[in-house]
């Protein structure tokens, strides 16, 4: 499904601000796999995700989706296959446009826009029932501007938008991190139910180890621009936070020759 092969990324090469963010990373995702990604600040998690989404080109390596090489595709072209939710709730929606307008835009992500009227009668009911399934009281607010919604409501809406046009791959970058704990739990629950229902191949970054263990069928941990730990299925199921910390210390220790590292 997703094939990342030996990608590297250095920001500002040759300058004092040079920052090596990814070092020879390879990752293969099978269809329907739900992978949680953890790792401390600056580990390269977002860079990995942005490389897949095409926010910037990678220095080395290739990325393909369903055997189609997308390494040189611009961001908007990859969006045909990829749905995304960002950490910042402001990022995924257009605040001064109505809920319905945002959903309409998302519903045609995998085709070119044309000169037909954007707001379509036949979509309204569909949107309403989708919004109702969020249980956030948004179903009667199709004509509200998105800017009036709370952060949690906006993230849930972004999630709906990201999955509306049947993406091959769903990328979630700490999409609950900016929310209060209760709302975060709510949005996470919506996330897991959408992913399960639609069998979406998903990559979810989280800073919460418990969430990382509870969600998905595979877990990877990044450190210093590399994937240090990769566990799945049965092995992942019996993993605890304590196991994870131990594994991390061992892996990072052998990587760097010291064990003074902590997860943030």
């Amino acid at each position: 499904m997703l094939d990342i092969s030996h990608i590297s990324k250095t920001f500002n090469p040759g300058m004092i601000t040079e920052k090596v963010a990814l070092i020879d990373v390879s990752l293969h995702l099978a269809p329907g796999e739900f992978v949680t990604v953890i790792g401390g600040n600056g580990a390269g998690k977002s860079t990995l995700m942005n490389s897949i989404a095409g926010t910037f080109p990678v220095d080395k390596g290739t990325i393909s989706i369903d055997d189609e090489d997308i390494t040189d595709w611009p961001e908007h072209r990859r969006a045909k296959y990829i749905g995304r939710v960002f950490q910042d709730p402001m990022m995924g929606t257009a605040a001064n446009m109505m809920i319905e307008e945002n959903l309409e835009i998302a519903s045609r992500r995998n085709r070119r826009p044309n000169l037909s009227w954007s707001s379509k009668k036949e979509d309204k009911e569909k949107f309403q029932s989708m919004l109702a399934s969020l249980h956030l009281g948004l179903e009667d607010r199709l004509e509200s501007k998105v800017g009036l919604l709370s952060g949690g409501q906006r993230q849930a809406l972004t999630l709906l938008m990201a999955t509306l046009a049947d993406p091959k791959l769903l990328l979630l970058d700490e999409h609950t991190a900016a929310l209060d704990p209760k709302t975060a739990a709510q949005v996470l629950k919506i996330t897991t139910s959408i992913v399960a229902e639609r069998h979406l191949t998903t990559l979810m970054i989280t800073h919460n180890m418990r969430d990382a263990l509870a969600c998905g069928n595979r877990l990877i941990m990044m450190y210093g621009g590399k994937i240090l730990i990769d566990v799945k299925d049965r092995e992942k199921k019996k993993l605890t936070v304590k196991d994870l910390l131990l594994m991390f210390e061992k892996a990072a220790g052998s990587e760097l020759g010291d064990d003074s590292l902590l997860l943030s």
Binding site: A94, E101, E104, L115
Partner: protein, 294 residues
């Protein structure tokens, strides 16, 4: 005073087409586009040149619109493909257009005296040229505003609006923002050129210097309209901009009647816009002060 009502109204309408153009870049795309100062005289120059060459007024305005669109594309390519900041890209096109406009006209000023213009064409409406001008103003503004309303309600138009609101979001939804930005600048400058073509014909001449300050006039109209008439829906925004342009002309007519020298007009408009643009900050400061006082 009252005898000025109709001319003021028709001036406001003809200028409102420019204001809609400025609204599209400034509010919809969130770009301050200075191309306007070149594409406005470009429209006037193109139309005037074609009229003196014997072309009919409708064709002249149409070609003027195309010329303005081309200017918009140039700014669009400079800012998207060549990554020049939008403000600077607009300035570059504006400066380049100064030479282009001189070339089109062959001189700095082209008179349309005793020539058939769009206003002679509409002469069947009334024997009073004031009424004819008002008619042309109403029809052209109505047609273009409706066209804008339709276009920005389509899938492509909605992608342009989202580009200004949140470029990352719209890219994540499969839209090439380079294209939407170029398209928005094209539409905006096409409208500005039409406005220039019509106002040139209304005034009876095209002048290479007639673009100076047009961006500020456009901004004044947009802001006055928004403050007085609201922005709830896109349709309401368009209407507000048109009404804002008319109110701006009324204000100008009043201050002139009160004895302000016409040479101070641009200074007056600039101060008006500076005040209006700083309003949010002033309001916030004022609120904070009142809170501190309590």
């Amino acid at each position: 005073m009252l005898e000025l009502a109709i001319p003021t109204l028709s001036q406001g309408l003809l200028w409102s087409i420019l204001a809609i153009g400025v609204y599209i870049t400034f509010r919809v795309l969130d770009i301050a586009d200075l191309t306007v100062e070149g594409s406005f005289p470009l429209g006037a120059a193109t139309a005037a040149k074609l009229l003196t060459e014997g072309y009919d007024p409708i064709t002249s305005v149409f070609v003027a619109c195309l010329a303005g669109m081309a200017a918009g594309i140039v700014t669009g390519i400079l800012t998207t493909k060549l990554k020049i900041p939008a403000l600077l890209a607009g300035i570059l096109t504006m400066i380049a257009l100064y030479s282009v406009n001189l070339r089109i006209m062959g001189k700095a000023n082209l008179s349309l005296l005793r020539m058939d213009t769009i206003f002679t064409l509409a002469g069947f409406i009334s024997d009073d040229p004031q009424n004819v001008a008002l008619f042309v103003g109403i029809v052209s503004t109505a047609v273009l505003a409706l066209l804008c309303y339709w276009f920005f309600g389509t899938e492509i138009g909605s992608a342009i609006r989202a580009t200004g609101a949140n470029p990352r979001m719209i890219r994540a939804n499969g839209i090439n923002t380079d294209n939407t930005i170029i398209l928005g600048l094209l539409i905006s400058n096409g409208l500005v050129s039409i406005s220039g073509a019509l106002i040139g014909q209304a005034n009876g001449f095209a002048d290479v210097g007639m673009g100076v300050g047009t961006i500020v006039i456009g901004l004044a109209s947009v802001i006055i309209g928004e403050v007085l008439f609201g922005t709830r829906t896109f349709w309401r925004c368009l209407l507000s901009v048109v009404l804002g342009s008319i109110v701006y002309r009324v204000v100008i007519a009043i201050v002139l009647a009160l004895g302000m020298p016409p040479n101070d007009l641009k200074l007056f408009t600039a101060i008006l816009v500076a005040l209006a643009l700083s309003m949010p900050l002033i309001q916030a400061k004022f609120k904070a002060m009142r809170k501190a006082g309590e």
